[in-house]
């Protein structure tokens, strides 16, 4: 206790001194002239890998969810249990909880599970998405050992009010309505967006997991999501602005049986009902080279998972086998200050506080966790070619101080004439156990240590701008060693318990090629991505059990995706191919049907027409998903839909 108090005092003191020094520097430099900072803002000179989701892709996937977008258009591996069903992401061979989803800068991963269900994130709520690979999000958060996804809605400060409305009719009784209203001007902005999606998901599939194998219709798979976001932006003056955002959503996901279980009696009902409300407020002060952001968020989630089967005695009604009720609240505050100094030097520093609270009938009692962190991020450019980056992050959880998390990175422009950059970085990052890991009853292990990642990465980026087209290519290699990786294992009793037992070595390569251009009325955009991922548990436990060196389950060694999009006079055509290689479904070395899932290719094609009518814009789109009717599984014996269609009508008024 004494020690903890000492740590707190130390951190506070260090922070106060730091802030004071900053304050002095600020007043000294305020009078200086503004200097050219454009070079510093360019992402291709970044020592870490960041990718902004292209607007063409955002448009293409506007009416679907984040799970489908990531699965089809990025090298991120998505594990989905079905269309509109639970989906989690894995970056660079890590686990679902190592992927953080940041909404307006705040992590929205469940404090209980550590992961986010990506199927509950409607793409139409956001107009900016970014992927941060590996250590790239260490300024925003710790623990994203794989990477993070950033979600934001940028207000454009437009004078014109605008209305948009889109209606989708899809196969399997799928309907989706999205709509938005934006009003405001130079001082004020209001954006309201709604989504309503329902699907029976009653797709036909061939069930070869039962006797006799037969054509069936998926049952108990209907989903519905209803949500809205409201964002207000207000600009007090040139230096001050504020935004307030709320995102509220109601979700029902029925969970269909595994393909082998369709002949079961007892009329099983399994579903997840969820309501969340995410709210944030941010004040930004900006003057010359200084920027100060103060923000806060309150995230609330009420989730109920239920599993019922009818009992023997008809009068007793269904027997509830599982009724899991979980309410989580997460309250955060952030202060972030950045300053650009004269000699090509940028400092970003800040502090975050997060308080998490869980009420669950799976825990003995209500549980809470408080995390404080401070960070300082220094970026310095030399000769307009070399950039060095040093970031230090310190974090304290429930009074326990983690070792400092450093990131050191560099980016160097290799040739004066060509935009060819080489980057490298090395970092250490910790991922805290989830509250389920700590407190699940029975089994939770309060003694767990954080997962400890040592990560390094190198990459090359090349950009070539020609008169009518832009080409870019990026190749990255990375290696991460994650010690104390948490795994649930059977204990001496009749329940499982998590332990810090795995030592995971994840390494791989990512390659991206992009091309974009126009010629007269014709414009085109295309990209191809490939990822090689090798991720293995190298612990002594794994060695004893004989699966060290064996690829972790559900992470493909090879994955690739490509997209071409062409537009001519309001007509457009888009084609997306997405390949997922063979995946292990168990760690057994034996080559057997039950240990691997075959690779699959998915092709989605869309065609549309945009009509401009004075102030209105009308868009008609037809889309075919899984064009070649590939019979595939993302998770073993979970049926997936074959070829299906979507027709959408979109209307904008400015």
């Amino acid at each position: 206790m004494k020690r903890t108090a000492f740590h707190i005092t130390l951190i506070t003191l260090a922070w106060l001194v730091f802030m004071q020094v900053q304050g002095q520097m600020m007043s000294d430099t305020l009078t200086l002239d503004q200097f050219e900072v454009i070079g510093m803002q360019q992402d291709f000179a970044s020592p870490v890998k960041k990718a902004v989701m292209d607007s063409t892709v955002m448009h293409e996937m506007n009416t679907s969810d984040l799970a489908e977008l990531l699965a089809s258009f990025t090298p991120v591996s998505v594990r989905t249990y079905g269309s509109g069903a639970l989906a989690t992401a894995s970056f660079r061979g890590t686990g679902a909880s190592h992927t953080k989803v940041l909404w307006n800068g705040f992590g929205i991963n469940s404090p209980m599970l550590g992961s986010t269900d990506l199927s509950l994130v409607p793409n139409s709520f956001f107009n900016r998405m970014e992927l941060y690979y590996g250590a790239a999000s260490m300024r925003e958060t710790s623990g994203a050992l794989g990477g993070s996804v950033l979600l934001e809605y940028d207000n454009h400060w437009t004078k014109q009010p605008s209305v948009d409305f889109e209606q989708v009719f899809g196969s399997f009784h799928t309907m989706e309505t999205t709509a938005g209203i934006s009003v405001g001007g130079k001082k004020f902005g209001s954006d309201t967006r709604i989504v309503y999606r329902t699907s029976k998901n009653d797709f036909p599939y061939y069930n070869n997991a039962v006797v006799p194998a037969r054509k069936m219709t998926q049952e108990n798979a209907n989903i519905s999501n209803a949500g809205f976001t409201q964002q207000f932006n207000y600009r007090f003056n040139r230096n001050n602005e504020i935004d307030v955002v709320t995102w509220n959503q109601w979700n029902v996901q029925n969970i269909p049986p595994v393909m082998t279980n369709v002949d079961r009696g007892g009329d099983q009902k399994e579903y997840l009902k969820d309501f969340f409300s995410r709210n944030s407020v941010r004040w930004v002060w900006q003057k010359k080279q200084n920027k100060l952001e103060v923000s806060a968020a309150a995230l609330y989630d009420d989730m109920n998972y239920k599993l019922q089967r009818s009992g023997g005695d008809d009068s007793t009604g269904p027997v509830t086998l599982i009724d899991s009720k979980n309410r989580t609240g997460s309250y955060s505050g952030k202060v972030k200050y950045s300053r650009e100094f004269k000699n090509n030097f940028v400092l970003v520093t800040g502090t975050d506080a997060v308080f998490e609270r869980v009420n669950s009938n799976n825990y003995d009692s209500a549980k809470r966790r408080t995390t404080f962190s401070v960070y300082g991020d220094l970026v310095k450019d030399f000769n307009k070619r070399l950039r060095l980056n040093l970031l230090l992050r310190a974090e304290m959880t429930d009074g326990i101080l983690l070792p400092v998390m450093p990131l050191f990175g560099m980016n160097y422009r290799l040739m004066k004439r060509e935009q060819l950059y080489v980057r490298a970085n090395i970092s250490r990052n910790y991922h805290l156990p989830t509250l389920n890991d700590l407190y699940w009853s029975p089994g939770g292990n309060p003694e767990l240590k954080p997962e400890d990642g040592l990560q390094t990465e190198g990459g090359l980026k090349y950009i070539k701008k020609l008169s009518t087209l832009t080409l870019s290519a990026d190749v990255s290699v990375y290696a991460s060693w994650i010690n104390n990786w948490i795994l649930w294992t059977p204990g001496n009793f009749q329940y499982w318990s998590p332990q810090n037992i795995a030592e995971v070595f994840a390494r791989g390569l990512e390659f991206t090629f992009r091309v974009q251009g126009t010629k007269g009325n014709f414009s085109y955009y295309g990209f191809a991505e490939y990822a090689f991922t090798k991720t293995t548990n190298e612990s002594q436990v794994a060695e004893r059990a004989g699966y060290d060196g064996k690829q972790l389950i559900y992470i493909p060694t090879h994955s690739a995706n490509g997209f071409v999009h062409a537009a001519y006079k309001g007509f457009y055509l888009g084609w997306n191919v997405h390949f997922t290689g063979e995946r292990n479904t168990s760690l057994n070395s034996e080559e057997s049907y039950s240990n691997t899932l075959p690779a699959y290719f998915l092709n989605d094609v869309s065609a549309g027409k945009i009509l401009m009518l004075k102030k209105a814009r009308l868009e008609l789109r037809f889309r075919v998903n899984n064009l070649f009717n590939e019979n595939y599984q993302a998770v073993r014996w979970r049926a997936m839909p074959g070829r299906n269609y979507e027709l959408s009508v979109k209307f904008n008024l400015n």
């Binding site: 006797v211 194998a213 002949d263 057994n588 057997s592 039950s594």
Partner: protein, 351 residues
């Protein structure tokens, strides 16, 4: 190398047999005398498999069910019971029972529509009972036509079953979905499917066997949360009276998997180690007959009714293939083989 050749031959044999689509199909005799091993798999993952162990040369063939039938066994393979040339595999979370040919593992039929089936007890050629973890009814099925023909309302969920005379003794292991305490053995008259009696035993009766004197032995774990000291009960099936109760020495032990040898004089059970108990004995052993070790934890046992060999499974980490140990009744280790994921029930196949 020899193991590989045999495995190769076995696979070729199975492949050859499955390619032949003539009327002699069911006559294939690709499986010699041996042991079916059910690998439970993980709940909701549908990765249960069937292995076949040949004790003559200590070889094991995994994934037999899929390789022969081209369908997965299903979700949580729970128990196996044999009648004539047919074995019935109860697949718990798939809610069905597969009937396979003992000579080649080919599917003969399936009994579907069950809620959460656990064990099947053959009464005669046309009648069998199926116990259920969630339903308070025992399903009455016809093992010849693979149809569910009736059900018996027991008022409790049901687990292990044995027959003594014409009566069936059923353990009420789980308290799930019932208001009554789970400390009863229910007696059913198999001639008219009527519940005739219930006998109070310890909490959580998990397994029962019949010895050479026709006494019914019931093992009670005392509850997964250690509500009661575990106990072993001896019931006279003629009078339904409890004739003896043996109490374990610690409340934290969780004995289960009561088995009997072919001659009906020795009982075996698991209690962090394999324990042995003579039916004529008056006290429980305090040290195991076969010990667990740091790298050897037993989850299920089975006793070969002919040779008396004891089979024990170790699921290791429940995520990779488990191990099957075979011991002589003297306790000498005879073989150790890798089976599938969470190896559990054993089906002794003599034909």
């Amino acid at each position: 190398m020899k193991k590989l050749i045999i495995l190769f031959l076995a696979v070729i044999g199975i492949m050859a047999s499955s390619c032949k689509k003539d009327k002699n199909d069911s006559q294939d005799n690709t499986l010699g005398n041996g042991v079916f091993i059910l690998n439970q798999g993980n709940f909701n993952s549908a990765n249960a498999t069937l292995s076949y162990f040949d004790p003559a040369d200590n070889t094991i063939t995994n994934d037999v069910f899929f390789n022969v039938n081209k369908v997965p066994l299903g979700d949580v393979a729970q128990s196996i019971t044999s009648s004539g040339n047919t074995s019935f595999i109860v697949v718990n979370n798939s809610g069905l029972i597969y009937a396979i040919d003992n000579r080649n593992a080919k599917i003969l039929g399936s009994i579907t529509g069950l809620t959460s089936p656990r064990f099947m007890l053959i009464i005669d050629q046309n009648k069998a009972y199926v116990s259920d973890l969630y339903s308070t009814r025992i399903a009455v099925v016809n093992p010849s036509t693979y149809q569910v023909v009736d059900s018996i309302e027991v008022g409790r969920t049901t687990e292990g079953m044995v027959m003594a005379g014409s009566e069936v003794f059923v353990a009420n292991w789980s308290a799930f979905g019932q208001t009554a305490k789970n400390d009863m053995v229910v007696v059913i008259n198999s001639l008219n499917d009527v519940v005739v009696d219930s006998i109070r035993v310890g909490i959580e009766p998990n397994s029962l066997v019949v010895d050479k004197y026709d006494f019914v032995w019931v093992l009670c774990s005392g509850g997964y949360d250690n509500q009661q000291v575990p106990s072993l009960w001896k019931i006279d099936p003629r009078t339904h009276f409890v004739v003896d109760t043996l109490i374990f020495d610690t409340i934290t032990s969780n004995p289960d998997n009561l088995n009997v040898n072919g001659t009906g004089d020795i009982l075996y059970y698991l209690n962090r180690g394999i324990y042995k108990f003579s039916v004529d004995s008056v006290a429980l052993d305090t040290v195991p007959f076969i010990e667990e070790r740091k790298d050897r934890h037993f989850k299920y046992i089975g006793v070969d009714p002919v040779t008396g060999d004891i089979y024990a499974s170790d699921p290791l980490d429940y995520q990779t293939n488990g191990i099957i140990y075979r011991y002589k009744d003297s306790g000498v280790l005879l073989s150790k083989n890798e089976a599938g994921l969470i190896p559990g029930a054993f089906g002794f196949n003599y034909h």
